[in-house]
């Protein structure tokens, strides 16, 4: 040992539990879920051996071999072979294999062992293998493979001490030996035959594959019933976003109103009070109230990801995706984009075909992300009556929200269809994917992920949204309109004048001065549209007691026609108003060409969709 901290790399097949093991060893909280391709980039962390010596741990995307098929798998090859820029060869490999799928996972393990680096096998998920009626002989497996094998259950932190000790031992014994000459990699077929032979001798007892998962799949993957279940799941998700959030939203609203009251009483009338009450609290508060809805949405997505249903959904959607030139593989990043397009676009790295991947990136912003929820729910809450539809236990508001999601999906499919026949033309994308076994979502993991999402949302509210809101408040408050001015303060101010300029462009599609004002700061993030409306509203209300008592919703109802409100919703189905999405698209496509294309086509679509909605609504007398 040269005294340097050893670098240990976790590597193995997709969905073997590498990230779970990484989290268990380092205390990190990397995303884990039950589908192949969750981890798409290299992640580093720190672990320590029993005696306290540190080790650098690297988690890698899953791969089937050292020959990559997609961008994420290329990272795995480069790190393992020491080709990654700025990184030396790893000091040890921990090959994570799924104990219940040795036949397959041992192939990559054999290829990795042949590299001649100090190697330890983590025989992971031994509990699930036992559940499935498999009894394995770890010692026999170690003898056959010629490297230590440690049974682990990463999510229950079982086998970690033994694993670290084995890694330590492997590194030490490797140094005392003369450098082993790596064996030439055998052919695929020979590898598989050896893997199967080794799996056979290491398996002491085996019962047939468990029947219950097959029974579940018989329904869930049924060509008709399975698709209806998928639709029903999504429908329930959007109903729940409304039905379950009412009470907690009320608590948050009361809390913010109380804070505003405290601030109003404590501060003298003036600049600071205006800034805090009208700017910060009104603006940020208008966004924070949507936390419960966003968490409900995330809860559903997390459960779908953790259970193994995501790949089933991809299977069901593949037929439809194929018709527009994409693959079922792309459905997973798109469904993730319901939460946020940024991780969704990152997740496309697991798509092998470059044109398929690019198209999926370009349509990801059409998936209704959680930042649109505040906009949608505010407008729906104000303009769509809260009643059941036709005596069914289905709320009209939830139905409209569902419709907006569907509009995004249908829009995305049409755009993909057009793109695949024009700018991203190429051979038909394939779809080859492993289907994971079902697993019960673990409460702790779900809770941690929800907490992380809540924190991200609140941090956004406290930073970018608070900052934009304060800037907007300043621009709305100055210069002060003279007492005899015919213009309202929000129209007279700097921001108001800029908005009046924009208004001439958006007036044909039914947008008013309020909307023009909200659209500009909302370029940073969509939910700022809501905080901007709230801030402008608070300034407009000024000190008029009756006006202040009115909620943002009540005021909008008086100032906007239904046609305008619907056009505003249609705009947000398409408009690419999110700096982070544009930035991640630039990074993932290595240049400005595609993000600019994306922003251009989405704004054009948004304008057209809002216009068509407005003119249609006006024709029906809703103007």
């Amino acid at each position: 040992m040269t005294g340097a901290i050893p670098t240990i790399v976790l590597v193995g097949n997709p969905n073997a539990g590498k990230s779970s093991l990484f989290n268990a060893l380092t205390g990190a909280r990397q995303k884990i879920a039950n589908y192949p391709g969750v981890t798409v980039e290299r992640k580093a962390g720190h672990a320590s051996f029993a005696d306290g010596r540190p080790a650098a741990l690297i988690d890698l995307p899953g791969s089937y071999s050292l020959t990559p098929a997609s961008p994420d798998e290329a990272v795995t090859r480069d790190v393992v072979l020491g080709r990654q820029a700025g990184e030396r060869r790893p000091d040890a490999l921990v090959v994570v294999v799924d104990a219940a799928n040795l036949d397959n996972h041992l192939c990559f393990a054999l290829e990795l062992i042949a590299l001649g680096l100090p190697t330890v096998i983590a025989l992971n998920m031994v509990d699930l293998a036992e559940r499935d009626g498999l009894t394995l002989d770890a010692e026999r497996l170690a003898a056959e493979l010629g490297v230590p094998v440690v049974p682990t259950v990463a999510v229950r932190k079982r086998g970690l001490t033994e694993l670290l000790a084995a890694i330590d031992g492997a590194i030490l014994s490797h140094q005392t030996q003369a450098d082993a000459i790596p064996a030439p990699p055998p052919t695929d077929v020979a590898l598989h035959q050896r893997a199967r032979a080794i799996a056979r001798v290491a398996t002491l007892a085996e019962t047939p594959v468990r029947r219950w998962t097959q029974r579940v799949d018989a329904v869930v993957l049924h060509p008709v019933a399975g698709f209806l279940i998928l639709l029903a799941l999504m429908f329930v998700m959007f109903q729940a976003v409304y039905a379950w959030s009412e009470a907690p939203i009320g608590w948050i609203e009361d809390g913010i109103a109380a804070l505003q009251g405290v601030a109003t009483d404590a501060l003298p009338d003036g600049f600071l009070r205006g800034l805090i009450v009208e700017g910060l609290l009104a603006g940020v508060g208008a966004v924070v109230v949507f936390l419960p809805q966003i968490l409900i949405l995330f809860l559903f997505i997390l459960l779908l990801e953790a259970s193994g249903y995501m790949t089933r959904a991809a299977f069901l959607m593949d037929g439809l995706m194929a018709k527009v030139g994409l693959s079922g593989r792309g459905f997973i990043p798109l469904l993730s984009s319901f939460a946020c397009a940024v991780p969704g676009i990152m997740a496309t790295r697991a798509i092998p075909d470059p044109k398929d991947r690019l198209t999926t990136i370009l349509i990801a912003p059409l998936m209704t992300c959680s930042a649109r929820l505040p906009v949608y729910t505010l407008i729906i809450g104000v303009f769509i009556p809260n009643r059941a539809v036709g005596g069914l236990p289905v709320g009209l508001q939830g139905l409209v929200l569902f419709g907006l999601y569907v509009a995004g999906i249908v829009g995305a499919l049409i755009v993909a269809f057009v793109l695949r026949r024009s700018v991203t033309k190429g051979s038909a994308a394939g779809f080859m994917m492993e289907m994971p076994r079902y697993q019960w979502p673990r409460l702790r993991d779900v809770a941690i992920s929800l907490w992380q999402r809540a924190w991200i949302f609140l941090r956004r509210a406290g930073t970018i949204i608070a900052f934009t809101t304060v800037v907007l408040w300043l621009l709305l408050s100055f210069p002060k309109a003279p007492a005899d001015s015919e213009l309202r303060q929000v129209d007279y101010s700097v921001a108001g004048r800029i908005a009046s300029g924009l208004e001439t462009v958006v007036r044909p599609i039914g947008f008013n001065h309020d909307i023009a004002l909200a659209l500009i700061p909302a370029m940073a993030a969509r939910e700022i549209a809501v905080s901007a409306l709230a801030t402008a509203n608070a300034i407009d209300a000024g000190d008029d007691e009756d006006q202040v008592a009115m909620s943002l919703g009540e005021r909008l109802q008086g100032r906007w026609s239904l046609a305008t409100a619907l056009a505003f919703l249609a705009w947000f189905v398409f408009a690419p108003q999110c700096i982070s999405t544009i930035a991640i698209t630039r990074r993932e496509t290595n240049g400005w060409k595609w993000p600019l294309f994306m922003v251009g086509y989405l704004f054009a679509l948004a304008y057209a969709a809002a216009g068509i909605t407005y003119w249609t609504a006006v024709a029906f007398g809703l103007g």
Binding site: D103, N104, P223, G319, A322, G430, F431
Partner: protein, 89 residues
């Protein structure tokens, strides 16, 4: 009797007799082999398609399930398994 995997009945184990590697792309062929789909291996077609299409195909192979499209399945010739069908999975 040899049939193509894309038309094999669901729920019945079959043995891969031959794979026409030439009509598959290099990457497709490799991924099939990485899934363990190669001559002599037993597979069981489990699910096929949805409302929209007769694709993709979910296959049981050993203890794992994989999804492939009809194009790849069409390159795979299969024959019935002579032994007890219940023994295969």
């Amino acid at each position: 009797m040899i049939a193509k995997l894309d038309s094999a009945p669901l729920g019945m184990a079959v043995r891969i007799a031959r794979i026409d590697w030439d009509i598959l792309s290099h990457d497709e062929g490799r991924r099939l082999r990485e899934f363990g789909l190669m001559e002599g291996v037993e597979v069981k077609p489990l699910h096929r398609g949805s409302l929209f299409s007769r694709e993709p195909l979910a296959l049981g192979i050993g203890r794992m399930q994989v999804i492939i499209r009809g194009r790849q399945a069409a390159a795979i010739a299969v024959e019935p398994v002579e032994t007890e069908p219940a023994a295969a999975a």
